[in-house]
Amino acid sequence: MSDAVDIKALAKLARLEVSDAEVAKLETEVPGILAFVETIQKVQVSVVATEDSLRNVVRPDDNAYEGGKYTEILLNAAPAREGNRIAVKQVISRKK
């Protein structure tokens, strides 16, 4: 079922730039991995996946900490900063 994997489309979904040389390599490696994991299709599953050990945990809806407490620490880690904001490139560009 995974004979042809469109690596370029996948890379775009994953927000990952891939060179042509890497695409060629991945075009053999990724289907190889998928062929290996496909063996699970043979397993007949009888257990109803209740996963009672996994449950949503929520904290009370109040202030977990004082506002501004971590602002400087977190902004210091950012690659680009403008005042108290992380600076990013424009998301929507105007057509010229």
Binding site: M1, S2, V5, I7, L10, A11, L13, A14, R15, L16, E17, V18, E22, L26, E29, V30, G32, I33, L34, F36, V37, E38, T39, I40, Q41, K42, V43, V45, S46, V47, V48, A49, T50, E51, S53, L54, N56, V57, R59, Y70, I73, L74, A77, A78, P79, A80, I86, V88, K89, Q90, V91, S93
Partner: protein, 472 residues
């Protein structure tokens, strides 16, 4: 001071008896690191100044009699466990200059105990690999035979302890990343029950699988370190509530022969059988059991884990922290930062994860894998409910391999065949030294894996110590 014989328990005794101070002990380790690390490359960075200051503070505590189990004990930390202000890079270029903005919960616990942090250890990038060859900073060598890998991903932590450059270390285990390097370097390595140790401040790989755990020279040390880091944490939503466990003394050991009989090298299997016979002599009853779905564990793992990896690593996009490549378009900032920040294996797993979660494929891959995972978990639970106290297997199919010998990704993945079902089921397991086998004239250690029911760590320690005694 003979560091090769030193354990946490022995160091504790000697520190309390004032035979040496924590400063003296720390200096010994720092000089051992200076001497050996250039060759072994266990540490990515050492923290000489702060380690000596911590040792000094620990000596004050010891003088005052305010002693915890790890006061003044020098440990190594895997490079994916956060210590505030310190670089935690997960051996990736992506986080090369990332300084942790907070302490992980295990760090808080160790600081409260008065532990000495010697440095951060090398690993496979983002804990993805079984050899440390995926580190962005070059591989770690196995101190037992430097032509061979120390295992991974916690290979640096294993080499630090096996190379007498730390008395013990913390690692993390998503599919075998503590137990496999322990096996390959002759140490004890333990993966706790999922939720027993907080994951808060552990750089996430596969969040439903990750656990922090100890790499030590003895089972007793693993227990000391585990007791020091375990416990409920409100900052980890999957953390288990604190509860006293009363575990009965283990008597019956399940042996899933059909699971491991094929694919294990013959002398590794022979060594394993020898240990089994010794346990029988020590009074255990051996019972053949079936785990029919366990052989599919590896395939399930290589769907669930990359899915979680691609999700967890989505946050690393060159915007908030970490490596960032500036570009004209926002998309290109993401795509270029990730392309140049992530190594080859990380990129591969991100793509596989994206594939198995993508529309049209998620049912056949991710959801099917989740269903098979539930089946595997249920098989373990049913075995334990049927009167089996523990299950044993070899930790790995073979001893340490040479650098570059597993360049095919799927061949490397096979290292984890006996360890991943444990993470999928969420049960605890320990690898203890299980004898040696000879390769190219060298005696190489192999591990003996013991698996217990959820929260059955005490069973691991009991049987682990009996294997140790049998080793003599």
């Amino acid at each position: 001071m003979d560091l090769s014989k030193l354990t946490i328990a022995e160091a504790r005794r000697a520190l309390d008896a004032k035979e040496f101070s924590s400063v003296e002990l720390t200096r010994e380790y720092l000089s051992a690191i200076k001497e050996k690390n250039a060759d072994i490359h266990a540490y990515l960075e050492t923290w000489e100044e702060s380690a000596l200051a911590e040792a000094n503070a620990a000596d004050d505590r010891i003088a005052k009699g305010s002693i915890a189990s790890l006061t003044g004990i020098p440990l190594a930390m895997k490079d994916n466990i956060l210590i505030e202000g310190r670089i935690a890079s997960a051996a990736s270029k992506m986080l090369e200059n990332y300084h942790a903005t907070y302490d992980s919960t295990v760090t808080v616990k160790l600081k409260e105990a008065g532990t000495v942090f010697l440095g951060r250890t090398n690993m496979d990038e983002f804990a993805m690999g079984s050899s440390t060859e995926n580190s962005a900073y070059g591989p770690t060598k196995n101190p037992v035979d430097t032509s061979r890998v120390p295992g991974g991903s916690s290979g640096g932590s294993a080499a630090a302890v096996a190379g007498d450059m730390a008395v013990a270390a913390l690692g993390s285990d998503t599919g075998g990343s503590i137990r496999q390097p322990a096996s390959l370097t002759g140490l004890v390595g333990m993966k706790p029950t999922y939720g027993a140790v907080s994951r808060f401040g552990l750089i996430a790989m596969g969040s439903s699988l990750d656990q922090i755990g100890p790499l030590t020279k003895t089972v007793a040390d693993a227990k000391i370190l585990f007791e020091a880091i375990r416990g409920h944490d409100a900052n980890d939503s999957t953390s288990l509530p604190n509860r006293e466990e009363t575990v009965r003394k283990p008597k019956v050991i399940g042996v899933p022969r059909a699971f491991f009989n094929s694919g294990v090298e013959k002398d590794v299997l022979d060594q394993f059988e020898k240990k089994l016979a010794l346990l029988q002599t020590a009074g255990y009853e051996l019972r053949d059991i079936e785990l029919p779905t366990a052989p599919y564990g590896l395939a399930v793992y290589y769907i669930v884990m990359p899915a979680e990896v691609s999700t967890n690593l989505g946050r690393l996009d060159g915007i908030r922290y970490g490596h960032s490549v500036q570009a004209e378009q926002l998309y290109d900032v993401y795509a270029k930062s990730r392309a140049t920040g992530f190594g080859a294996e990380t990129r591969r797993r991100v793509l596989v994860g994206t594939f198995v979660l993508s529309a049209g494929y998620a049912d056949a891959y991710y959801r099917k894998a989740k269903a098979v995972r539930a089946e595997i978990r249920s098989e373990f639970v049913r075995s334990f409910e049927s009167g089996i106290d523990a299950i044993v297997t070899p930790t790995t199919p073979s001893p340490a391999f040479t650098f570059g010998s597993k360049s095919d990704p799927v061949a490397m993945y096979a290292e984890d065949v006996f360890s991943v079902p444990v993470n999928l089921a969420g049960v605890p397991a320990i690898s203890v030294p299980g004898g040696t086998v000879e390769r190219d004239g060298k005696k190489l250690p192999i591990g003996f894996q013991i698996i217990a029911p959820h929260r059955g760590e005490e069973t691991l320690f009991t049987i682990g110590e009996d294997v140790e005694k049998a080793n003599g």
